[in-house]
């Protein structure tokens, strides 16, 4: 009788072991209203605050240095600026907002570790004598230890009480920059970010993670509307429960809008809505259009051309590449009129990249740094991107010894860290 009992117990355990119930609860700061009276920092102060800082207190949790970098999201005539900190330990980062009151700078925000679900509140103050007064100068003079951020952090929504002290060490690396291209519109839903992958909200969020570019996944609805969505099927990994299942291409755009919401409640955006957000609300420089099997490259080419023109019309530096992940897509691309002048990204061999005059050759990271091949491709006037690099040690190696122009990653903050601390 023992075996049947074990079998039933095993069946029950297998059945109940399938769900991943990890979650990150976004901390809420009940004292945020205290920061309403601060004045936004001027451009000069923001620029002076950027840099590589030593972690003086809090190394055991956040590592020994952090790169601070501002990003902004436009909303009409206004732009909301966020200071991000990229740590080398545990793929940790923070985002903070704030400003100055007299000669003191106040910042508040949240921190997160991407290797787990740890998150919490964070507050900083830069006293007048610790760099605050210098930052208020029209031309701040910044040097080693001239800015000290006295901060505190806590877990979850608890009041921050543990010390985090940062001291200015040096400017961010100013040599040839690597483009930090974030996967799935800026970050994956499975990494428990506060917004859903492949949404307009994620596109507006991802610069806080250090991204300078995004890769987005383009499907076609039943009525021919290009939309952003990664998987072939509607599922609970990416969408809220709706009762609709099966291939997303079976549904029209109106049907999806009426019933489907992404995990955090966002609508599935059209490609045009996504590119509008990129062009008019962010300073992202690279968009990689990952063409799913259903999407027509002719349609992508038209939209790409339209949005490159829109970006140029407002003086934006922006490259939009049509991603070609397979020989079928390459063949379809070759049949396009004017394909040789169409910016494309070839994931196949350098020979095929040459054949179609791709602007970018993009091999997978497991093939290594391939410095000779990369140099050869670059000598032909092409760029070389590598995908999808997530392991911090390899990110460090590819940045320090490789020659790639861009790294595609699910963890843009760690790529930004190794890029800026060089």
């Amino acid at each position: 009788m023992r075996h049947p009992v074990l079998l039933i117990i095993a069946a029950a355990l297998v059945s109940f072991s399938c769900r991943n119930e990890a979650e990150v609860v976004e901390p809420t700061d009940s004292s945020a209203r205290l920061y309403e009276d601060v004045k936004p920092l001027r451009l000069g102060a923001r620029a002076a605050l950027e840099g590589v800082y030593r972690v003086v207190d809090g190394q055991d949790v956040f590592g020994n240095q952090v790169a601070l970098k501002w990003s902004g999201v436009a909303n009409g005539q206004d732009t909301a600026f966020t200071l991000s900190g990229f740590f080398g330990k545990d793929v940790a980062y923070f985002t903070a907002e704030g400003g100055s009151l007299d000669s003191t700078v106040f910042l508040h925000g949240t921190w997160r570790k991407m290797v787990n679900t740890e998150t919490g509140l964070l507050r900083f103050v830069i006293l007048a004598g610790n760099g605050g007064r210098q930052l208020m100068n029209p031309i701040p003079v910044i040097g080693k230890d001239s800015i000290i951020l006295y901060g505190s952090w806590g877990n979850g929504s608890e009041n921050p009480s543990r010390n985090l002290v940062l001291a200015y060490d040096r400017p961010l690396y100013a040599g040839k920059q690597i483009e930090v291209v974030a996967h799935r519109g800026g970050g994956r839903t499975s990494d428990l970010l506060p917004v859903s992958e492949n949404s307009v909200e994620m596109i507006l969020f991802t610069q806080r993670l250090g991204s300078t570019g995004i890769e987005i996944d383009v499907h076609l609805t039943k009525d021919g509307i290009p939309i952003l969505y990664h998987d072939s099927n509607l599922n609970l990994r990416l969408t809220q429960k709706s009762g609709l299942v099966g291939p997303i291409e079976e549904y029209t755009y109106d049907q999806l809008q009426a019933v489907i919401r992404l995990i955090h409640g966002e609508r599935i955006p059209t490609l045009q809505q996504a590119l509008d957000a990129v062009v008019y609300r962010t300073s992202l420089r690279v968009v990689w259009l990952d063409s799913k099997p259903s999407i027509s490259l002719k349609l992508l080419q038209q939209i790409q051309s339209e949005y490159l023109a829109k970006a140029a019309a407002i003086g934006r530096t922006l490259e939009i590449y049509i991603g070609l992940p397979s020989q079928e897509k390459v063949d379809e691309f070759l049949a396009l009129p004017n394909h040789a002048q169409t910016p494309s990204l070839c994931e196949l061999s350098p020979d095929i990249a040459r054949q179609i005059n791709a602007r970018v050759w993009a091999p997978r990271w497991t093939l290594g740094t391939q410095n000779d091949l990369v140099a050869q491709v670059q000598s032909e006037g092409r760029l070389a991107f590598v995908w999808t690099l997530d392991v911090p040690d390899y990110v460090a190696e590819f940045i320090s010894t490789g020659r790639f122009d861009a790294i595609l990653s699910n963890y843009p903050s760690i790529v930004a860290y190794y890029n800026y601390v060089r």
């Binding site: 069946a11 009762g243 609709l244």
Partner: protein, 201 residues
């Protein structure tokens, strides 16, 4: 009630009953006498969707129907020991809802299970557990009609009491929990079944 306590309760129930297992009254096949048989369970009844159903975005008016019909076809091999093995299929309505106003729409979801099932008679009741796949059928009627199917990993657990009508026929009442785990769908079924010994050797 959330899905997690229900799942835990079901697991505890299954494990406890397994612990009390004693040789039962096997109405179709007798342990130890080297008699094998194939027994069919065919029946129908009601299905009640018992976890939070999916729906339209917040703020959109919605009207749910969570009780519908269900049917079962199951064939079990009764060997000369306690544990029986078989296959199950059938159909169950999960839920449907009407949403929106001008234009309004309707979504319905049903499932066809394809499960490998084990069973044992404990305290005069046949206990079934099964795992496999559910073929989910989703229908949307909003600015056009869409019928789509997909597979979901899942399981079921059931308790059935059989009243013998003859040597080869019985009438059973069954309570069954169906769970399409991958899509977080679950329904409680109450069915009346005809139990029929198809073959004996």
């Amino acid at each position: 009630m959330s899905a997690r306590p229900l799942r835990i309760s079901a697991a505890v129930l299954v494990c406890c009953l397994a612990g009390f297992a004693v040789p039962g009254d096997l109405r179709a096949g007798t342990p130890g006498d080297s008699t094998y048989s194939l027994v069919a369970y065919i029946g129908g009844g009601l299905a009640r969707y018992i976890v939070a159903p999916g729906g339209p975005p917040p703020g959109v008016p919605v009207e749910y129907t969570r009780t519908g019909l269900s049917g079962t076809v199951r064939v079990m091999w009764h060997p000369d020991h306690l544990l029986r093995l078989g296959l199950e299929s059938g159909w169950a309505s999960f839920y449907s809802y009407k949403f929106g106003t001008q234009p309004s729409g309707e979504v319905s979801l049903s499932a066809v299970p394809l499960l490998v099932v084990w069973s044992m008679n404990v305290l005069g009741v046949d206990w079934f557990v099964g795992s496999g796949y559910y073929r989910l059928n989703s229908n949307l009627d909003f600015k056009g009609t869409v019928d789509v199917q997909t597979w979901s990993l899942g399981w079921m657990a059931a308790a059935s009491y059989t009243h013998p009508l003859s040597e080869s026929l019985g009438l059973a009442g069954e309570v069954k929990w169906m769970n399409a785990t991958e899509h977080a769908d679950a329904a409680l079924n109450i069915q009346v079944q005809l139990v029929w010994k198809l073959l004996e050797w």
